[in-house]
Symmetry: C2
Subunit: 259 residues, 2 copies
């Protein structure tokens, strides 16, 4: 199918790998909204954050798991996928980059560890409006019905809206609830929550110690405007995300104290 | 040496690996300011961003490259090093976490890709005041004299100051200049700058394509309050960094538009 002149180019990626059910759901969700191109990791890349591949080269392999959609598996991280697809697959910036649907929550502090959200944020750095989608159900057999419906609504909103910031990046999480129970879409801030790590210490057959990362998610945030609150109350949460990490309040304080 | 009751515990990590000259410089810089414990990656982890290790366990190996200082090499990422050291090495939160000295700049957008800064930010999430140090010289034989001097000044400031945010995280970059040419320390904001990627396409001996990430750093920021400006003018730049990625301005805008 030749690309129509007015048709937007939609880049789709994720961090669970090109063969995850979540990315198939996302491709289905946006069918008909533009020319879809998939460039996704060739293996799971959860928790890769904003990692890029410096010490070794990358590979791209054409794959045909998406019905009628041009798709590539990339040997790198989710951020690599975005960088490489702009330069070597699309040879231009897409009109939008969507990432996910992630199998598992990326609300609150997860935004920092998430490969799904880092891919979206990388696009935003490149002046490509972007959205990361995550479903609060990590299972392979998760039901993506509500995720698909809401992803399409939000992508349509962004493709229609012209007044947005060129660095727009949205962190969208969908509750693990039946579609009819979802109350709507809520614009939120990132909750202050974190993991309290407890490494599981074991010994290998040679008697040497090794450690598995485990931990408990703890929400310290009582606000009703946070993403964690929205999701608990069956809303789809939408947090606009930025890549300027400057802590401006602390900057003012330091400028005074360090004079 | 038994730990004195009042002596602060200083956790030192990096992303270039425990045997990099930069981390040895940082350990030397803070000698005498507290009980130093090093937990650093066992191999280079540059560009790992905020990656964590989920799919495999971690290893810790005692090493003795730092004269009289307890030190461990960890098989994981810089962020893993911080998490694991709190739970399994220190069995408490350190009083400060310092990361680096990185061989190469981590100003502006580099804060997002940098393993050095992600280790520091992870500590800040855990309510451990933290500082990442980077020298604008990537060479193994880089001269760390100015970096050491300024690192000690800044660590002392933070250890003495009691009024700081419990999530304090500083991104400190040191110009690649002779110590006497450095004009001082400047509190800054993160410059708006990014990489314009150009992947180097090659063919392997079997005729298959592969791609090396290369790119040009482009600074779009004309402000004189940015870290890039400060470094160009021979100041040590200090950017306070936060982990709340919410774009509050865009949040307000979206709330209105999506009503």
């Amino acid at each position: 199918m030749a690309k129509k002149k007015s048709e937007p180019v939609i880049l789709v990626t994720n961090d669970d790998g090109y063969n995850a059910p979540g990315i198939r759901a996302l491709v289905e969700a946006v069918k008909g909204l533009g020319k879809i191109v998939v460039v996704a990791p060739d293996k799971p890349q959860s928790g890769m954050g904003h990692a890029i591949t410096i010490g070794q080269p990358l590979r791209l392999q054409k794959v045909s798991v998406f019905d009628g959609v041009e798709a590539y598996a990339c040997s790198g991280t989710p951020v690599d996928c975005v960088k490489l697809s702009v330069d070597k697959v699309l040879h231009r910036k897409p009109d939008i980059c969507i990432s996910g649907v992630n199998h598992g929550a990326n609300h609150s502090i997860n935004v920092i560890y998430s490969g799904t959200m880092s891919a979206a944020l990388e696009a935003a750095i490149e002046s490509i409006p972007s959205i990361g989608f995550s479903l609060l159900d990590y299972r392979i057999e998760a039901d993506f019905t509500a995720a698909k419906k809401n992803a399409r609504i939000i992508v349509e909103k962004i493709l229609k809206g012209k007044s947005f910031d060129k660095h727009l990046c949205l962190n969208v999480n969908i509750p693990a609830a039946e579609e009819k129970l979802i109350k709507g879409i809520k614009v939120c801030r990132q909750a202050y929550a974190k993991y309290e790590e407890k490494f599981d210490e074991r010994r290998d057959p040679h008697g040497k110690k090794y450690y598995w990362l485990t931990g408990e998610f703890v929400n310290f945030d009582k606000g009703k405007d946070s993403d964690v609150w929205a999701l608990k109350n069956n809303y789809v949460s939408v947090v606009p995300v930025q890549f300027d990490l400057t802590h401006y309040e602390l900057k003012k304080k330091l400028e005074k104290q360090w004079k």
